[in-house]
């Protein structure tokens, strides 16, 4: 039980931090990133960076929704930028 209590405290603490930082907006450095840059930095972290020519424009939209869930750290605006980049390069 002791273990559980300390873990709950850790989780509560983490969520507390989360609440606190929720107010912090992304910096200009992050929001100014282009779709190509986000793709180059983020889309190779689990698998290799995907090739734009593999999918049609409509399919990239679907992939965007899928990866938004899996990656789980890109905002909708960022995912849209990546999708637009992939659509422009396919």
């Amino acid at each position: 039980m002791k273990k559980i209590t300390s873990l709950s405290i850790t989780i509560i603490f983490s969520i507390g931090i989360l609440l606190f930082i929720n107010g912090c907006a992304a910096t200009e450095k992050v929001t100014a990133k282009s779709g190509a840059q986000i793709w180059g930095e983020n889309c190779l972290r689990c698998h290799n960076a995907p090739d734009p020519v593999d999918y049609s424009d409509a399919q990239w939209e679907t992939v965007g929704m899928h990866m938004k869930q899996r990656v789980n750290n890109l905002t909708e605006a960022e995912i849209n930028k990546v999708v637009e980049f992939l659509q422009s390069a396919n």
């Binding site: 873990l7 609440l19 929720n22 992304a26 180059g40 750290n73």
Partner: protein, 411 residues
């Protein structure tokens, strides 16, 4: 236990409120992007993707064995800008199984809710790195699964039935992501103390709660560290009872909890014209103390007081692996740039006093370790040939070596 559950419920309710605060920031940008997207050609938003593979193993005794093949189609539907459905049918050794079928609803830019059968959002391996086209080795890291444990136990991966809330929080130059989930929870095999997390029908009234928090401290997202925790009652509600010191006990309160830490560092380094990656995951799986029947021929260390037909053990299992890979992807040479070299060290510590854990020649439990050295030749971003040497050292010091190969085609 109850308070933890209440806390998670509260957290679930709070998340949408928290994220609403920050969602206003880039909604204008989103509107612009949406307009652009709606101008895209084609209307079909269904996508069939996935992977197929074929592989073989070679060792001194069995010689060459064409032992691995599989097909895992993934079906994705974008139903609207907010609704999305994903499912996978996996046939790892020819037997079809619905791996996941999950509906996601995007509440706003920062948060979404999912329901159905989903890959367990615990640790990173199961949800993010396991698909055959992503796993760069022809084998998986050592995980506490059927290769090492009796009877098809699904301890730390597979799918759960339940609900999740996931979201992301901008954090200055850093990023934070979270997933919280409620599921049917683990089930306990009361004959041996093994836990199965792939529980499609709930075996008791208690739900499992858990979650993962991922932190990407650097603006270029090169590093992610994740912390996961899950907890629930594993015992069946109508479980059999036993007597200890003339007191009746049953398994209905036996709880199981687990925690994991995962790490992912990926960076392309132009100076050495390469992409390097370091990945790893540590997991610890704990089950509350209980007594189990002593199997025939097994000498236990801790018998029940006055009853040598029952025994107990510290039911904690730990595993970890760490992997390093190096790919000179920025070289001009067409052949070399597609080669990736891989090293992975795996370790599994089963409960040393359990009847079912690996033992040394004196009957004591210990650690199984495995070293994998691999080479991958990529034909495109998700298709490639993988080769590996796999050297396992068992608890009794015995070594087994295998050469493995696998061709994976992502489509």
């Amino acid at each position: 236990m109850k308070s933890l559950f209440r806390f998670f419920m509260l957290a679930f309710l709070l998340m949408p409120a928290m994220t609403l605060v920050s969602s206003a920031q880039d909604s204008t940008q989103t509107e612009v992007n949406k307009k652009n997207l709606s101008a895209a050609s084609g209307k079909t938003k269904m996508l069939l993707t996935g992977a197929g593979w074929f592989g073989f193993a070679y060792d001194k005794d069995a010689k060459l064995n064409f032992n691995s093949y599989g097909f895992a189609p993934v079906f994705l539907w974008k139903i609207s800008d907010k609704l999305f459905f994903e499912s996978e049918i996996e046939a790892p050794q020819g037997e079809f199984e619905l791996e996941f079928a999950k509906l996601n609803y995007a509440v706003n830019n920062y948060i979404s809710i999912g329901a159905g059968r989903m890959l367990t959002p615990f640790g990173a391996y199961g949800e993010k790195w396991e698909p055959a086209f992503i796993e760069r080795f022809p084998n998986n890291p050592i995980i506490p699964d059927e290769d090492f444990l009796p009877g098809g136990t699904h301890l730390n991966w597979g799918a759960i039935m339940g609900l999740d809330v996931r979201g992301r929080v901008p954090l200055g130059n850093s990023r934070l992501s979270y997933v919280l989930f409620v599921s049917n929870g683990p089930s306990l095999d009361n004959s041996n103390g093994l836990i199965d997390y792939e529980n499609l029908d709930d075996n008791n009234a208690n739900k499992q709660v858990g979650g993962r928090i991922g932190l990407l401290p650097f603006s270029n997202s090169c590093l992610e560290v994740g912390f996961s925790y899950e907890q629930g009652i594993a015992g069946n509600s109508e479980d059999s009872v036993y007597q200890i010191n003339s007191e009746w006990k049953d398994y209905s309160k036996v709880g199981a909890s687990a925690m994991a830490v995962d790490l992912n560092f990926v960076k392309s380094i132009p100076k050495i014209k390469s992409i390097i990656s370091v990945k790893g995951q540590f997991g610890s799986y704990m089950v509350d103390d209980a007594y189990y029947s002593v199997p025939e021929g097994f000498t236990a260390n801790n018998y029940a007081p006055g009853d040598s037909t029952l025994y107990t053990f510290n039911n904690t299992l730990q595993n970890y692996y760490a992997q390093f890979s190096f790919r000179p992807a920025l070289l001009k040479n067409k052949c070399l740039k597609n080669v990736e070299l891989l090293f992975r060290y795996n370790s599994l510590t089963e409960p040393k006093d359990a009847a079912w854990s690996e033992k040394d020649n004196n009957g004591a439990g210990g650690v199984v370790t495995r070293l994998d050295i691999g080479l991958c030749y990529w034909l495109n971003w998700r298709t490639g040939l993988r080769f590996a040497y796999e050297g396992t050292t068992h608890v009794n010091g015995e070594q087994s070596n295998e050469l493995l190969a696998r061709f994976v085609m992502g489509f």
